[in-house]
Amino acid sequence: MIGSRYLPLLTTLAIFILAYALCIAQFPNMLSTRVLGNLLTDNAFLGIAAVGMTFVILSGGIDLSIGSVIAFCGVFLAVGMGEWGIPPVLAIVLLLVIVTAFGATMGAMIHYLAMPAFIVTLAGMFFARGMAFLLSTASVPINAPLYDTLQSLYFRMPGGGRLTFIGMVMLAVFIGGMILAHRTRFGRNVYAIGGNVQSAELMGVPVAATTIGIYALSSFLAGISGIVFSIYTSAGYSLAAVGVELDAIAAVVIGGTILTGGSGFVAGTFLGILVMGLIQTYIVFDGTLSSWWTKIVIGLLLFSFIVLQRGLVWFTERRANAAAAAHA
């Protein structure tokens, strides 16, 4: 009974381990701390944004604006610290306030105007990237000492892999996200809204405040993700992070969260991120795929993954049913 709740999560874990084992069998080099470290560092910004997306999807919504928000953050920081001369810490705080307010505004429109999240955040996606263009169309390097410090912060693991600062930020955000989702009233309310808004309202859940909070959180995390991305690349670029929202959605769904809301885990999203990273690493290690085959193979792997997951869940539930019957 308890198992069935965690089933998608366990399935994802099982498939990830299996897939990783297969990869190692083909490329022994993939079993190294370097690869593991890279998996964390390279997917840090995506993972952080995906935590926000998890909350949004758990509540039955969707946020298409995060890629654009990430790009906006980079450009804002680069232009802010460079051209306008704002001190780095102040720029970061200012940025987080701006993007959080942006998310809260989207949440308020979704709730009070009863507009679909898909469309509100689509407009938000245009708007945020448009604002990035207005700040600067060219890519702007960031030369702050703070950035150099943060970039040089890492643990060296045996075998040459690095656990970098941004990788650690991602891990921290995931832990924070898990606590927020499972151990706070806000988290419960998110699940409740995702289950059924009307019921949640009749049970006294503050739907307006929670909805606004969810999108504010998503944008806030997209802001953190944008900062991480700017640390990752030491630059701001208005064309950066195009389509990250789709990657984040895919990671969330692979992690076993249901798109209609109400069921899933933040930890699942972490697995989803690892799976997506693994797919990419595998393709690079293989290194023989042409541009188009890369796309097709990513699509096929996504497909087989989802089908495998569904199949396993279905199969296990059937077995559980049959076992219950035999027991009765």
């Binding site: 009863a114 679909p116 448009g130 263009f133 959605i249 188009w292 097709i296 996504l302 089908v307 569904r310």
Partner: protein, 349 residues
């Protein structure tokens, strides 16, 4: 019939008003915007351009409307456009005749749609993810067909189908209007419309009432693929070449936007194809207006976002209710002043 036509128009009043306002804005920016002339056997004018350039979005919006009515969404249409454009170009350049090329291209679109439909209807995968798969892989498939290059062709027949002139009207316009009529009539004069709405609102209840839900879902996604195939052919014929990378890029978002601006709910159920088409024209008018305005391109996205938000806010259920309330207040105030009649509902029983 007349009454339902009137109520339909009334429902679309906000959309039509929005379109009118945007066109008026365009005219303010670009003098002579409303001029239409006839030369070289065809109509010229910015309005014709909007109808013509908006054809791919309009076509996609037709299929998308029905998909969304079933509570689905089809993210793959842009990629399917690329696949079908590439198929058409590849077939025509390797010597197939025009009829065979067209037939195979449309069939390709339908197969893509059926694939999506099968994932949704039989495997129970959520539509957004099911179609995301083809969205990612589809462009790869298209490039596989063109081998990464822009596959140019010079077959006048294919070019005519996609971008020729028929009775002075550009073919894309003819095509989307014809298909919209065909689909609209088919859906409203058969029971399909009602059954699709039933599936969208409550798939399980519809299934238990004997509605062939799986078949309907398949059909609806197939139609979406079919529309994407035509849009892809138009896009390819327009530039006389299949550009697997860029044909229909991000057009799925425009199509979804058109459907929603057209007053359709993303939660499925009630739908209006005419609404979606008006939505598509609104989007194209914004795009054309931006191009005519002469602002630097950095402003494009912000302008688009602001206009879209304005339209959506005005037609959101809440502001509609608010407007209706204000309107009723005014009219009831005037009514009371006129005759002090009690409201009819209160007196009954």
């Amino acid at each position: 019939m007349n009454a339902s036509l009137r109520s339909g128009l009334l429902r679309l009043a906000p959309q039509i008003a929005a379109l009118a306002v945007i066109l008026a804005l365009c005219a303010a920016i670009a003098p002579g915007f409303f001029d239409i002339s006839f030369a070289n056997g065809r109509l010229y004018g910015s309005l014709i351009d909007i109808l013509n350039r908006g054809a791919p979005t309009a076509l996609l919006a037709i299929g998308m409307t029905l998909v969304i009515a079933t509570k689905g969404i089809d993210l793959s249409v842009g990629a399917v456009m690329a696949i079908c454009g590439a198929t058409a170009a590849a077939l025509i350049t390797s010597g197939y005749g025009l009829p065979a090329t067209l037939a195979l291209t449309l069939a390709t679109g339908i197969v893509c749609g059926l694939w999506n439909g099968a994932l949704v209807a039989f495997l129970g995968i959520q539509p957004i993810i099911a179609t995301l798969i083809l969205m990612v892989a589809g462009r790869g498939i298209a490039q596989l067909i063109t081998e990464g290059v822009i596959l140019t062709f010079n077959d006048q027949g294919l070019i005519f189908v996609g971008s020729g002139i028929l009775f002075g009207v550009p073919m894309p316009v003819v095509l989307w209007i014809l298909i919209a009529l065909a689909v609209g009539l088919a859906v409203r004069f058969s029971a399909l419309g009602m059954l699709i709405e039933a599936v969208g609102v409550n798939r399980r209840a519809a299934y238990l009432s004997g509605v062939g839900t799986a078949g309907l879902l398949l059909a609806v996604y197939a139609l979406s693929g079919f529309c994407a195939a035509i849009a892809g052919t138009i896009a390819a014929a327009d530039i006389r070449g299949a550009d697997a990378n860029n044909a229909g890029l991000w057009l799925e978002l425009d199509a979804i936007l058109a459907v929603v601006i057209g007053g359709n709910s993303l939660l499925g159920g009630r739908f209006s194809i005419v609404g979606s088409l008006v939505g598509a024209m609104i989007i194209q008018s914004i795009n054309t207006g931006i191009l005519l305005s002469g602002y630097p391109p950095e402003f494009n996205l912000v302008i688009k976002a602001v206009i879209i938000v304005a339209i959506l806010v005005l037609q959101s259920p809440t502001s509609r209710a608010f407007l209706a309330f204000a309107w009723r207040k005014r009219s009831s105030a005037s009514q009371e002043a006129a005759g002090q009649q009690p409201a009819p509902g209160r007196q009954a029983s």
